[in-house]
């Protein structure tokens, strides 16, 4: 018997184990348990929980369950450190981040081995993907710290950030959170996931090694209770969370009204669209990278494979053949394609969903996996859009395959989801690719590639995949605040509108009666309720306005959705309409000024408000074709386009004061960017806004782009905030109203912007700016590799 002869007969790969001795020594050194990393030092271990290697079940370490007190101590340390950290020059902060990047590289193999042990992902991934991306993230953000003052003027750090990260890319998610936060001058309290806290603790040692000032980075370990304590802590200025949509929604509700800034990077069910002219082998390998990377435990995993019916058979054959080549097993074997599932609980969840899918008619094709916490690579065929496997995020190595007929069909299926994180599009036709990229609702679109990441591009979702971006310039904006204007006196809650007939109106009987209706879908509409309320002036009522209700909102949202062409029109086309609007407003300036004086404004103030409204309309007309995206510098032979896209249909609740200018200042940036709007005008003086619809009518503004419903602002705004088909809401009103809006917006995780209605003097420079345009858009990053 000769081993070499035997091997020559089978040509097996054998095993190629990565040595873990150095990491195991480190774990041994800490075998009495890890404390938290607070104020530059590790605390004594407290109440401990076990951290196990999912692949073997062996105990790796014991880690402290963070209490409310632990969180509080960490927040205090971060608070104390923040002013000093922020007052360092960008260059000083850059030096620290650069040092971290360097040390991550110097400890690269240590971190990779530890990550694979703790998480169960193959060493190939932790070595070739996770850790290099971590280093790249710190290098990139060292750069942002250096040039922030020049490149992002007029911004300031939020202060202290609470950050909660998931278990699928433990160290990489830490980097995505910590690097931009520190670069911007924030300090951090971070909680790693309870399944995978070890690389965060190793990272804390690296932070100490590079001499990061104490308190700048604090790491508190623990489970969901610790996370809840972070979310609830009053001493934090910002919460950043990556994890499930369910928890994200809870965080949105719990932080409502607290003034905490919030970014959420949540779940996904990303489409992977294969057109008939695609390189099918390339697309098959794409599926490998999409759903069998990290065993599908990837929020942006291309889990829904949509394939053109004409090539489905060939594609499925190739895919199955490729799947059978995958090796599932020991994460520390360099020949392993897919490692362990992170935790037996997650494995049970995957199994449960699969059982459900099979009972609903899905047919499985599966590879093999060893006993234990492993799940085989799986293709689920015959999955219809209605089935569980097509709608639920499985977070496991399961791709569903569904066929489509036409590009329209593909887009409809791709967008048939609550989520909007990523999409992958495969075709050799660049026209088709970019067309689909534009139509798909996703924050990241990969053309002829998938799961490509770089610190220089933004990552984050549309819809219920959350809001905010990580990476690139847009990612920095998530850790910087524009200075917030403060109200000298907060807006008082307007008195409830009374839908009863009342006092005589000025000029009653003398001139022809004028009715202010709502404006829905380009048509004047009577209130569904059939009630009107009196609009007061300085000396009693000056007119009647319709009293809107839920159904008016419903109708307005439907009308707004029909105005689809507006978002697709060129910036130039939109600008033309807005210029024309300004022209027509100008022609009727006197009339509008008169209306404002009737509410009690002085003549000068009224004229100034109208003049500013006209000028502002020009300003947003000018911006309509100039608020450009960017081409990010990411990888070689890739174009990465960061495109501004409108949110879609937006609700806007206007402040009570400056009823014309407040309305114009909020509605114009939204529509300049291509959104369709349901606007709730000043509750007390809606007539200045309803007068505008005649201007809209004469300015070629397509029906449905601006819809106006008057009435009780908070009740109407609540309906908008709760509406699942509204993508964003701006609310300028009372503090209580703001809290209500943020809470109500959690349903579909719409982007919300809430501010005291009295905070801005709309006549001042606070009344306009790029900040409004940022809020009216979301960024889609489209990756286009090239080369023939």
């Amino acid at each position: 018997m000769n081993t070499i002869t035997d091997i020559l007969a089978t040509m097996d790969y054998g095993t190629a184990p990565e040595d873990s001795a150095i990491v195991r020594d480190w774990l041994k050194k800490h075998e009495t348990g890890f404390g938290h990393f607070v104020d530059g030092a590790f605390t004594a271990p407290g109440e401990l929980f076990e951290v196990r290697a999912p692949a073997s079940g062996e105990l790796l370490a014991s880690v402290t369950q963070g209490s409310e007190d632990d969180v509080d101590t960490a927040v205090r340390a971060a608070r104390a450190a923040q002013p000093g950290w922020a007052s360092l020059s960008g260059h000083e902060r850059a030096k620290y981040l650069y040092a971290i990047a360097r040390h991550v590289q110097q400890h690269a193999r240590f971190l990779a081995v530890l990550e694979s042990l703790d998480n169960g992902k193959p060493i190939r991934e932790s070595r070739d993907a996770d850790v290099p991306l971590v280093a790249r993230h710190f290098y990139h953000h060292a750069g942002w710290a250096e040039i922030m003052e020049d490149e992002l003027p007029g911004t300031a750090p939020h202060g202290v950030c609470g950050q909660i990260i998931p278990w699928n890319f433990p160290l990489l998610m830490l980097a995505w959170k910590v690097a931009p936060a520190l670069a911007a001058g924030n300090t951090v309290v971070l909680k790693p996931a309870e399944y995978t806290p070890l690389t965060a603790l190793a990272f804390a040692e690296i932070a100490a090694e590079v001499g990061l000032p104490k308190g700048v980075l604090n790491i508190v370990t623990g489970d969901g209770r610790t996370g809840a304590a972070i979310v609830a802590h009053e001493g934090l200025d910002k919460i950043a969370f990556t994890g499930s949509t369910e928890v994200g929604r809870r965080i949105r509700r719990e932080t409502a009204g607290t003034g905490k800034s919030l970014t959420l990077e949540l779940g996904g069910k990303s489409p992977f669209v294969v057109f008939a002219d695609a390189d099918l082998d390339a697309a098959v390998e794409g599926v490998v990278d999409a759903i069998w990377f990290n065993a599908g435990q990837v929020c942006c995993a291309g889990a829904r494979v949509l394939v053109a019916e004409s090539v489905a058979k060939r594609f499925e054959d190739l895919l199955e053949k490729r799947m059978r080549q995958l090796r599932v097993g020991d994460p520390l074997d360099k020949n392993t394609d897919m490692g362990a599932i992170v935790h037996p609980m997650q494995l049970e969840r995957i199994k449960g969903l699969i059982e459900k899918g099979v009972s609903e008619g899905a047919e499985l094709v599966q590879g093999t996996a060893p006993e234990g916490c492993f799940f085989p690579p799986t293709i689920a065929m015959k999955v219809e859009p209605a089935s569980t496997l097509a709608t639920e995020e499985i977070f496991g190595p399961v791709a569903t395959v569904t066929t489509f007929r036409t590009p329209e069909d593909a887009v409809a299926l791709a967008n048939n989801t609550r989520y909007g994180l990523a999409a992958s599009i495969w075709s050799e036709n660049v026209n088709l690719c970019l067309d689909i990229a534009a139509q798909v609702k996703a924050g990241v679109v990969w053309i002829n590639c998938t799961n490509v990441f770089d610190a220089g591009a933004g990552f984050g979702g549309y819809r219920e995949s959350g809001f905010g971006r990580e990476g690139g310039r847009e990612g920095m904006m998530a850790y910087l605040a524009h200075p917030k204007p403060k109200a000298r006196k907060p807006e008082a809650a307007p008195s409830a509108p009374v839908g009863q007939p009342g006092e005589a109106l000025p000029g009653a009987g003398a001139r022809i009666d004028r009715t202010a209706k709502f404006y829905i879908g380009g048509k004047q509409a009577r209130p569904d309720s059939g009630y009107s309320y009196a609009v007061s002036g300085p000396n009693g009522p000056v007119g009647l306005a319709g009293l809107g209700n839920r159904k008016d909102i419903r109708n307005a949202v439907e009308a707004a959705h029909k105005a689809k062409g507006w978002g697709k029109a060129t910036g130039h086309n939109r600008a033309q309409v807005l210029y024309y609007l300004a022209e027509n407003l100008s022609a009727r300036a006197g009339e509008f000024a008169e209306r404002l004086t009737s509410f009690g404004a002085s003549k000068t103030a009224a004229q100034a408000e109208v003049e500013t409204a006209i000028r502002r309309t020009f300003w947003y007309a000018a911006q309509a074709d100039k608020f450009d995206g960017a081409v990010h510098q990411t990888k070689s032979a890739h174009v990465t386009l960061a495109m501004h896209e409108p949110l879609g249909v937006m609700g806007i609740a206007c402040p009570t004061a400056q009823p014309l200018l407040g309305f114009v200042s909020l509605v114009l940036p939204a529509i300049a960017m291509g959104n369709a709007v349901i606007a709730l005008p000043s509750q007390t003086h809606p007539l200045a806004a309803t007068d505008l619809y005649q201007v809209f009518d004469t300015s070629d503004l397509p029906g449905g782009v601006v819809n106006i419903v008057a009435g009780e602002r908070d009740a109407l705004a609540k309906t908008l905030a709760e509406h699942d088909d509204v993508a964003g809401i701006w609310y300028f009103g009372t503090k209580d109203g703001g809290r209500m809006i943020e809470k109500a917006s959690a349903g579909n995780l719409k982007q919300s912007w809430v501010e005291d209605g009295a905070a801005r003097d709309w006549l001042s420079k606070d009344g306009q700016g790029r900040g409004f345009l940022h809020r009216a858009t979301q960024i889609k990053n489209i990756w286009v590799p090239y080369g023939e």
Partner: protein, 330 residues
């Protein structure tokens, strides 16, 4: 034009029937997409997804030796030079290494030697009785821009001299002008001229440049009856690369799926290290399976690669890093 009634191959060369070819069928390749970026990505992960260590590595390197077409294609080749090459092909590893590997009984040789036509008689003589096939380039190698009848005559002459395998070069112009019929006819005529000798079609992938061209040219060559498709002459600006090889083996797989014929693959040029030999073997195993790790379906066209493999194997046997001057020259 058909390629029916081609003569059979000598039995020793293959475990499977020769590729009989098919009529020219452009539908099998025209419009076939090959995405360069994706091919590059896949090629890059071949060597990061797979790794062979210790005894497995030794075995895989031994397998590479079995598949090497040990090559000399230089203007200063002489009888003596070819004799030296053949000696190395007969005994690719120093006896102490063979013994250390426990392979004394195996009779390990390279897959073939590969020389210019006029060197064939020297090689045949030097390899008599060894069973090692003699391969020769032909058809106006490397540019191939000679009149067709002279190229065919060159093949016949070389086969006459005892060559078992003929590495032909295709007319790149036919590919660049998409004249598939001309390419098909040319290769089919060459196959006929080869008779019993196996035909390896060199596509000169560095010249035809795009992966779509590589795929199409591979398919035409196979339809015309090529026994092997081969990447390069070794004289183009770019020789064997993994993305090109990936494209060719996928064409080969697709041809096999459609016709049932098995065609071999030979990357050539630019591969110098033991590590390269492993990378290409991973490619073959992952894309096509174990059958394509055998010399009847897989050859590595290389010269200096063997030296590096020998050094690695000596290290495996002794645990010490080896020096080239302690191994015999090829």
């Amino acid at each position: 034009m058909t390629t029916a009634a081609l003569p059979d191959q000598p039995e020793s060369l293959s475990n499977h029937p020769r590729n009989l070819g098919t009529p020219l069928d452009a539908a099998m390749f025209e419009g076939r997409a090959v995405n360069r970026s994706a091919a590059e990505r896949r090629a890059a992960t071949l060597t990061t997804r797979r790794s062979v260590k210790k005894t497995y590595q030794a075995a895989w390197l031994v397998n590479a030796i079995r598949c090497i077409d040990l090559t000399t294609l230089a203007g200063d080749d002489t009888e003596g030079r070819v004799q030296r090459l053949c000696a190395k092909a007969r005994q690719p590893l120093a006896p102490r290494i063979v013994e250390g590997l426990g392979l004394s009984e195996m009779g390990l040789t390279t897959g073939a030697v590969c020389v210019y036509p006029t060197m064939v008689p020297h090689a045949v003589k030097a390899l008599r009785g060894t069973g090692i096939p003699v391969a020769s380039v032909a058809t106006g190698f490397p540019a191939g821009l000679m009149p067709l009848h002279l190229r065919l005559e060159e093949i016949r002459w070389t086969v006459d001299q005892g060559a078992d395998e003929i590495d032909i070069v295709i007319t790149r112009e036919h590919v660049l002008k998409r004249d598939w019929a001309a390419l098909y006819d040319e290769v089919a005529a060459m196959r006929e001229a080869c008779g019993k000798a196996h035909l390896k079609a060199i596509l000169a992938t560095g010249d035809i440049a795009t992966l779509r061209n590589v795929y199409a040219a591979s398919m035409v060559a196979m339809q015309a009856g090529a026994d092997f498709i081969k990447t390069s002459t070794g004289k183009e600006g770019v020789n064997a690369t993994l993305p090109v090889s990936l494209t060719m083996v996928r064409a080969l797989r697709d041809y096999g799926d459609a016709t049932g014929h098995r065609v071999g693959f030979k990357p050539a040029g630019g591969m110098k290290s033991a590590k390269d030999s492993l990378a290409w073997q991973y490619l073959m195993k992952e894309e096509l399976g174990n059958d394509w790790l055998q010399p009847d379906l897989f050859r590595l066209g290389a010269s200096s690669m063997l030296g590096d493999i020998e050094r690695q194997l000596e290290h495996h046997v002794t645990g010490r890093y080896a020096a080239a001057h302690r191994h015999s020259l090829a």
